[in-house]
């Protein structure tokens, strides 16, 4: 079943066409990767799908519903979560608080009930904490639970970013360059986690990635883009051996 369908998506910034008539679909339970040289428009596609930028043309269809005109803060309640390429964590809060904010999407927050801290609020807080602790166990973040994000090393912050996106219980997870800045061991862990996310948590993954070994190891299907246009789509080996893709990466 196709969860996400992107049709003829286009984004223009003034005179620059960053994304040009891109169409693809992501099936439930697969890991779908977008690859391309730097500046190809991959993160822009992400920003369009998570509705941070409004599209200039085209449609984004999520489980049959047209999302194109939705406000950015409504996206996560539909079931789409994302991580950011330049880590956008809440620097002055602890890891635990960052993850608890990830649960926000499902919280019907009523500030008067909260000011009085009614038992219903207390119950819900404990429930969210349980949910967050499961994710902490899944990603081995116990040591960092009460540390301020600002002081954590880069590798850990990437994992916290992933954890926070997972706390929102998404059906589709958008991962923007999950292995960038990670060393070999950390990338290895990340590969296992991405597969566990699909197999154990049942979440579909759409990711942007540069590390080709990670891409071939983990992905079910790959989309190659360059200059905002689609070059090829298919299995990792098909796309990597496609002449247009090779030309884009190596130059002519």
């Amino acid at each position: 079943m196709e969860l996400l369908r992107v049709e003829q998506l286009t984004k223009r910034f003034g005179g620059l066409t960053a994304v040009d008539d891109v169409s693809f679909g992501v099936r439930e339970g697969e890991i779908y990767t977008i690859i391309g040289p730097n500046g190809a428009g991959k993160t822009t596609i992400f920003n369009l799908v998570s509705l941070i930028y409004p599209a200039s043309a085209g449609r984004i269809v999520w489980r049959g519903e047209d999302l194109t005109a939705l406000a950015p803060d409504r996206v996560v309640s539909r079931g789409i979560g994302r991580t950011f390429q330049n880590i956008e964590l809440f620097e002055h809060a602890t890891v635990l608080q960052n993850l608890l904010i990830g649960c926000h999407a499902q919280a019907q927050s009523n500030f008067i009930a909260e000011m009085l801290f009614l038992p219903s609020v207390r119950r819900r807080e404990v429930e969210h904490r349980r949910r967050v602790e499961k994710i902490i166990d899944f990603l081995d973040l116990q040591v960092h639970r009460d540390s301020r994000v600002a002081g954590l090393p880069y590798g850990v912050r990437k994992v916290v970013e992933l954890a926070r996106a997972l706390c929102a219980q998404p059906r589709l997870l958008l991962l923007d360059e999950p292995s960038s800045g990670l060393n070999v061991e950390e990338t290895d862990d990340m590969a296992y986690w991405i597969q566990d996310i699909r197999d154990l948590l049942g979440i579909t993954v759409l990711m942007v990635e540069h590390d080709m070994s990670l891409v071939s190891r983990v992905s079910d299907r790959v989309l190659a883009v360059n200059y905002g246009k689609v070059l090829a789509e298919g299995s990792p080996s098909e796309v990597q051996s496609h002449p247009d893709v090779i030309a884009a990466y190596l130059g002519d």
Binding site: F90, H104, M115, V126, E133, R148, A150
Partner: protein, 358 residues
Amino acid sequence: MRFVFKTRYEQDLQLFRDRTEAGWYGLLMVLLLAAPFVVPEYWRAQLVFIYIWGIVGFGLMLLSGFTGQLSMGHAAFLAIGAYTETLLQAAGWPFLLSAPASILLAAAAGMLIGLPALRLTGIYLAIATLAFGFIVEEVLARWESLTAGNSGLMVPPLNLAGSPLTNSNGFYYVCLASIVLVALAVRNLLRAPTGRAFIAIRDSEISAQSMGVNLARYKTLSFALSAGITGLAGALYAHQIRFISPEQFTLFLSIEFLMMIVIGGMGSLHGAVFGAVFMIVLPELIAITKDYLPQAVAEQTGLKSTVFGVLMILFVLFEPLGLYGRWVKIRTWFSLFPMYKAGMFRRQKSYQKSERVH
């Protein structure tokens, strides 16, 4: 060194970390409740001012410290609360009705300035709130049929639930109760989703949106709550000083509020209270040290201004965590003795990325 062994998630949610901490706060409450009977009249009045400024501190800390929306016009909300309370009490309303009215009216004003503020950040927001403060001050001065303009209004004695409060200790307890209730309400808010949403907005708006936080709703809420709390402080302020006029609610006062929360310690509720104590105690200290200073310096009216400015600069340069931060460091030094490490509280320097594109 005390270690708290936690076995249930509820323990992280509690108001107090453990029984010892609750004990200390309990002792503080007992002292404050007993204060009117042991402390001279003058200091009782100063305590009331500390409560009132503390409430303002909570309000401003909620907006600027926790939601990251800089406000340079908070004196306007104090004024709205003060005038509403005065006019309603003069018309015979009891405090139990006039106080909520002051809160609601101030909150409405907060929402009013919050609306344009939704699209503004940083310096633009500061200037918008600055402009708002000036306009409110001027409106209060010009709307003479309502506010008697610059001649000011006399404030009737506090009418709690029908008859005026004759016992001046009564007013002290009203203020104490108010600050405790406000502290509880704000604390509860901060350990719940709304409070976390505020912090998310402060640290990264885009990321907050991706987590489902509706920026407009929460920013407006933050402004409204902050303004409403300050309005309550205004209502109490009116009764304390007995006479209000527009010149009391100037930009200076707004900036003093900002200084209060910065020196107290941004980003923590304790900071608001420490800041309030600082604001009241400092002029007293200056008055005492005047006797030891050379004649020329001591007699100047500019001394208070200079001391404020110098302390402001010193705190930002050398103690960015404020008075509360310094208190935490001292306390930790004692509890960890002799194993306190000098760099324990040193924060990573996180360089502000410029938001300008060109």
